[in-house]
């Protein structure tokens, strides 16, 4: 067995015979070999600092702060029963914002459900996000999906679905197609640690390797798939090393460090554009909140662990960095957050009072055109609810 391989097998001592006592494993895998540029106090490694314009840095910060506030307010709306569900990204904001900021505007994004940041950094409005949460008639999805399935053709963000990992081969296909068409566009897909176990991770990674697709696989390793810690998800020590099985390079970065995420994505994008193929990026991060509004995380993780991760907060780090660079100060920071909050509250109101999609819409977009059976069903529904009915 080659030496480098033995080293990279999971230290098996963690595992008892056959199955694991969860008490032992309620810990994330070690943060080994991880690139960090910005530390938890806002210190940064000058020599590695990516070259980002001040304007973009400020936009990135705003996007990250917006994600956080958006979640706080939306979770409140959910508890009040005004939206049906919420699945948050608090603690993971650097991943989606840092990576998307490093791409070209017309590169394609295949998100999962924790990436409102990717849309915001591309200029999507908070109002549009709320249209999705409320599923109203201005929602691009026309009210068909649960909250947090943000889609925007205009922003080159492709409609996500709920099944885990299915977007991965789509990103690969898109990237191959762009190359066929001699376009310079690349694709980036987000997914979680749990998703690496799914079949579509395997399919997508393998096809990308073989066809040398210009695609970036951005795995947000937040340590859990609902209740399951990563150590139970796979016996490999890192997720990054899975790239090796597909003949693909990988990087492991601090996912709470927006500069590290940005620079790793930039490198991967350059490789992709140069025809050097795909890259897997493992971003180590943590979700501070529950898996979703239906989840009770105290069943499977300790509060101390959450506290430990709160210290590594990506937004605080970004804020400290910007202050060090004198791009913001306490006052402007406070003002910004206030601003964001106002925008969010007024957008929520607006979306909430937007009418729902009319009953006829239910039958559209199954196919390009209505089939006879859909028309039969539409007629029955319209007869019952009345034409143009949008709910009470």
């Amino acid at each position: 067995m080659p030496d480098c391989q033995v080293k990279r097998c999971l230290a098996f001592k963690l595992l008892t015979v056959g199955v694991v006592d969860l008490n032992e494993t309620m810990e994330m895998k070690k943060e080994t070999g991880m690139l960090q540029i910005l530390d938890i106090d806002g210190n940064y490694r000058k020599e590695l600092e990516p070259d980002i314009s001040e304007e973009l840095l400020l936009r990135m910060y705003r996007a990250m702060a917006t994600v956080r506030k958006f979640e706080e307010i939306s979770m409140g709306l959910q508890r009040q029963g005004r939206i049906g569900f919420y699945i948050g990204a608090a603690g993971q904001e650097a991943c989606s914002v840092g990576s998307t900021a490093a791409l070209h505007r017309d590169d394609w994004i295949f998100p999962a459900y924790r990436e409102p940041g990717a849309l915001l950094i591309r200029g999507e409005t908070v109002l549009q996000l709320f249209h999705q949460l409320f599923g109203d008639s201005m929602d691009y999805n026309r009210g068909r999906q649960m909250p947090n399935h943000f889609n925007s053709r205009e922003k080159n963000v492709v409609t996500p679905s709920s099944p885990i990992a299915t977007q991965i081969p789509h990103a690969v296909g898109m990237a191959i197609a762009a190359k066929h068409m001699k376009k310079k566009q690349i694709a980036l897909t987000f997914f979680g640690d749990g998703a690496t176990s799914e079949n579509d991770f395997h399919s997508g990674m393998n096809f990308a390797g073989v066809f040398r697709a210009p695609v970036i696989f951005l795995c947000q390793n937040n340590g859990y798939a609902i209740s399951l810690p990563t150590v139970r998800q796979t016996a490999s020590e890192t997720l990054a090393q899975k790239a090796d099985a597909y003949g693909m390079p990988s990087e492991r970065v601090d996912g709470n460090d927006v500069l590290a995420v940005y620079s790793a994505t930039m490198r991967a994008a350059e490789r992709a554009r140069k025809g050097q193929g795909p890259t897997l990026i493992e971003a180590l991060t943590y979700r501070i909140g529950p898996h979703s509004s239906s989840d009770d995380p105290t069943k499977y993780r300790k509060n101390e662990e959450v506290d430990e991760w709160r210290k590594k907060d990506p937004i605080k780090r970004m804020s400290a960095y910007l202050k060090r660079k004198r791009l913001i100060d306490d006052e402007s920071d406070r003002k910004l957050i206030e601003d964001i909050e106002n925008e969010i509250r007024s957008s929520a109101k607006k979306a909430e009072s937007t009418p729902k999609p009319a009953i006829e819409s239910v039958f559209e977009n199954v196919y390009l055109e209505l089939t006879w059976n859909l028309r039969e069903e539409l007629d029955e529904a319209v007869q019952r609810y009345g034409p143009g009915y949008t709910g009470k």
Binding site: P163, P357, L374, E377, G391
Partner: protein, 324 residues
């Protein structure tokens, strides 16, 4: 006897059989410490330990494939798929392997796995947390397909499924998980697979259903009774093997049939029921065989209410049938 919800009955059935039979193990995503996203496996880990209540990686084909291997060895695995909408990555393992091992091995190998999964709408889950795709499984030779609608039946049928020598797809109507409650015996008892139940007797029209729709049908029957229409409600309980006798003798009595389910109408399981009636009871029929089903669309998040047949919609089909 204890008053139990359907969900508690499911948990109790597993607990009962795990106590009775060491070979019974449970595996799936979040079934351990978390107790399952619907809490169906709550308490099992503490009681039976990590060797019998196995949290698995996020991979449905692995769950079913590994459960199949365990069953080949002689265990009795109960595999949980978190939502029926997420069963498809395991579809190949189910239709190519689980269902065909007995047959292709000439009976030398068998894989008595129970695949438990919540199905149907009612939780505002949109197009990926509301599906009723039982037709795919009922059409697959070698699988049994069970779908209870009461706490009593849920426990008795799940125990039967665990003891069955064939693989069973056990569909749990998630919108009834916590909304129905009844006295359920403690300890083990069985309800036979393959037997429907006359949930309400009637003489004007046979209303045939399963899963959560049975509740809706009973309410519709109640409402119809006020208009002097006597509806016989049949709770199929098992889709495969289907209890053809109960269906046909009811239709022969009433002369009318409405089939109610919430799967997309086109090609759904209701079609098989209708086809059997059109084959075996044609002379008794005084009206078209009607189906009141889900829409031929994915389930819309915001318009779930228009998707799943409600009492009013079922009633309108009853009326169409009896007024024909």
């Amino acid at each position: 006897m204890t008053v139990r919800t359907l969900l508690q009955s499911v948990t109790d059935a597993m607990k009962t059989e795990m106590e009775n039979d060491e070979r019974v193990v449970v595996l799936g995503e979040d079934v351990g410490r978390d107790g399952g996203v619907f809490r169906a496996t709550e308490g099992l880990l503490d009681r039976f330990g990590v060797e019998r209540v196995m949290d698995t990686p996020l991979n449905e084909s692995g769950i079913i494939g590994v459960a199949t291997g365990m069953a080949l060895y002689g265990l009795r695995p109960i595999a949980e798929i978190q939502f029926m909408d997420f069963i498809y990555p395991a579809f190949d393992q189910i239709v190519s392997e689980l269902s065909k091992i007995r047959y292709r091995s000439g009976g030398t190998y068998t894989a008595p796995v129970v695949v438990r999964t919540p199905f149907g709408g009612g939780i505002k889950g949109g197009l990926y947390h509301s599906q009723s795709s039982e037709a795919y499984f009922a059409h697959t030779a070698g699988l049994k397909v069970v779908a209870p609608s009461t706490p009593y039946d849920a426990k008795g049928l799940l125990i039967s499924s665990i003891r069955d020598e064939d693989p069973v797809i056990f569909l749990e109507p998630k919108r009834l998980y916590r909304t129905v409650r009844e006295e359920v015996p403690d300890g083990a008892y069985t309800v036979p697979i393959g037997k429907a139940k006359i949930a309400r007797e009637g003489k004007d029209v046979s209303l045939i259903s399963y899963g959560a729709m049975v509740r809706t049908c009973l309410e519709a029957a109640e409402a119809a009774a006020k208009n002097g229409i006597s509806v016989e409600v049949i709770d199929l309980r098992t889709l495969s093997p289907l209890d053809i006798e109960t269906i046909i003798s009811s239709v022969q009595k009433t002369g009318r049939a409405v089939i109610a389910n919430e799967a997309p109408k086109f090609g759904s399981f209701a079609a098989e029921v209708a086809a059997l009636i059109a084959e075996k009871a044609i002379d008794s029929l005084g009206a078209p065989v009607l189906r009141v089903s889900g829409l031929d669309t994915p389930v819309t998040y915001i318009w779930e209410s228009a998707y799943i047949p409600d009492v009013q919609r079922v009633l309108s089909y009853i009326n169409r049938s009896v007024s024909y």
